[in-house]
């Protein structure tokens, strides 16, 4: 019976999603189901019954003509194949890893910077001046940021091929594939929730490491900051990687109306991200070089991270409410 349902759904996939078409589909399906059961009762095998029922379905063009569906209304959205879905999920996974590593590199670069300063301040680098340490730190930070930008651009290019899924939503899914993805997403849900909780807990607890180290020895402040930023970067990676995976399932399952909303949402959050993070780095460098605030200005990264998380969360909720 599933074969018949799939067949009818594929036939109706290109037609407008109106109530009229929905009712017609249900009506046709009810007829075909009844026919199928009678054929089975008459002693036909499953395959024979399905074959007869499908061969007597007819031509969907008749419906298009008779119900006055104009050519513009006929949505010729490509049906995704299982292979395409697998590829899209693979690419999303890879790009989630790359973007995650990029974000980690940005934070890690600043963490290295703070660590180097700490090493110099405490005289572990004998023979080298503080200034040299600063230069090495900046070079390291810039290298990290450059690699990160490279990774961002590369994953952007890789994902470009799937713009019709991730941005435009110009696709339809065969019903069996849709339910398969839904099962996958449901199976993924608990992992996703756990990971998000772990990430939030990590971020909230990360200052505790710093405070503990300062309590023991004030000179350890820089190492505390290093560890704290390292923990934050782990949390950020988890958010980016698992969040990206979850979004990929979401995008495959979204119906069209939600897709348009989601598209704008992505754009706004992306735009804000590309402004807020470079701003944070600029703030970090200026406050350090001009005002010499290296001991405290790293705090800009966790704060930016939290503000950004709050913003994207609040924005998504507001957009959904506005529907």
């Amino acid at each position: 019976m599933d074969t018949i349902i799939n067949y009818v759904d594929n036939m109706f996939a290109s037609l407008p999603k109106s109530t009229e078409m929905r009712q017609l589909r249900d009506e046709l399906l009810a007829n075909m189901e009844e026919k199928y059961h009678e054929l089975k009762l008459a002693g036909k095998t499953d395959n024979e019954a399905i074959g007869i029922v499908i061969s007597e379905f007819g031509n969907i063009d008749e419906i298009i003509e008779e119900f006055g569906i104009s050519q513009e209304d006929v949505v010729t959205q490509p049906l995704l194949t299982e292979q395409e879905v697998d590829e899209y999920l693979q690419v999303s996974k890879k790009s989630g890893q790359r973007i995650g590593i990029g974000a980690v590199l940005c934070i890690f670069g600043s963490a290295m910077f703070v660590l180097l300063l700490g090493l110099f301040e405490n005289g572990y680098m004998n023979g080298l001046s503080m200034e040299t340490g600063m230069y090495i730190g900046v070079i390291l930070l810039l290298l990290c940021v450059a690699t990160a930008v490279g990774l961002f651009i590369y994953s952007g290019m890789k994902l470009d091929k799937y713009k019709f899924i991730s941005l435009k939503g110009n696709f339809d899914l065969p019903i069996d594939l849709k339910s398969k993805i839904k099962t996958m997403k449901d199976a993924y849900q608990p992992t996703f929730t756990t990971i998000m909780i772990v990430g939030v807990v990590l971020i909230i607890l990360s200052p505790a490491v710093l405070l503990t180290m300062i309590t023991f020895n004030e000179h350890l402040a820089n190492f505390g900051v290093f560890i704290m930023l390292a923990i934050v970067s782990v949390a950020v990676y988890l958010f980016v990687y698992f969040g990206n995976m979850y979004a990929a399932y979401d995008k495959l399952l979204k119906d069209n109306s939600q897709q348009t909303k989601e598209k704008d949402e992505d754009r706004v959050i992306g735009a804000v991200a590309s402004i807020i993070w470079p701003l944070a780095v600029i703030f970090f460098l200026i406050s350090g070089f001009v005002y010499g605030q290296w001991y405290i200005n790293w705090i800009v990264f966790p704060i930016t991270g939290l503000l950004f998380a709050m913003f994207s969360g609040a924005y998504s909720i507001l957009v959904r409410k506005a529907e």
Partner: protein, 110 residues
């Protein structure tokens, strides 16, 4: 087995005839067509529902919902007054068609 192209103009007549017997729904009608034609004509689902839509729009039939024994909601159809008139007209049209076409059919070729 008759081809759907040949019979196209007469689907309306066939459906109206069956609705004249009693009000009915999609599958029952297509089953009756198969039975009465001794399996020589099987109407396609899409053809049947295109015809329903056409007849509904012209006001020759009307639809209503009916609970079936198994609790499934089906759309039922019944013939209207103007549908009856149209059916009469189609019957006369067929008489004429038959008469005309028969003039061009050689008995010895049958």
């Amino acid at each position: 087995m008759i081809s759907s192209d040949v019979i196209r103009g007469y689907n309306d007549t066939i459906i109206l005839y069956l609705l004249l017997e009693k009000e009915s729904y999609g599958y029952e009608i297509s089953k009756r067509i198969k039975e009465l034609s001794n399996g020589k004509y099987v109407i396609k689902e899409t053809t049947l529902y295109s015809a329903f839509n056409r007849l509904l729009k012209k006001g020759y039939i009307e639809s209503f919902h009916n609970e079936q024994t198994f609790g499934k909601k089906r759309t039922y159809y019944r013939i209207t007054e103007s549908g009856l008139l149209y059916y009469h007209e189609k019957c006369r049209e067929w008489e004429l068609t038959k008469e005309v076409i028969n003039q061009f059919i050689r008995e010895d070729y049958l």
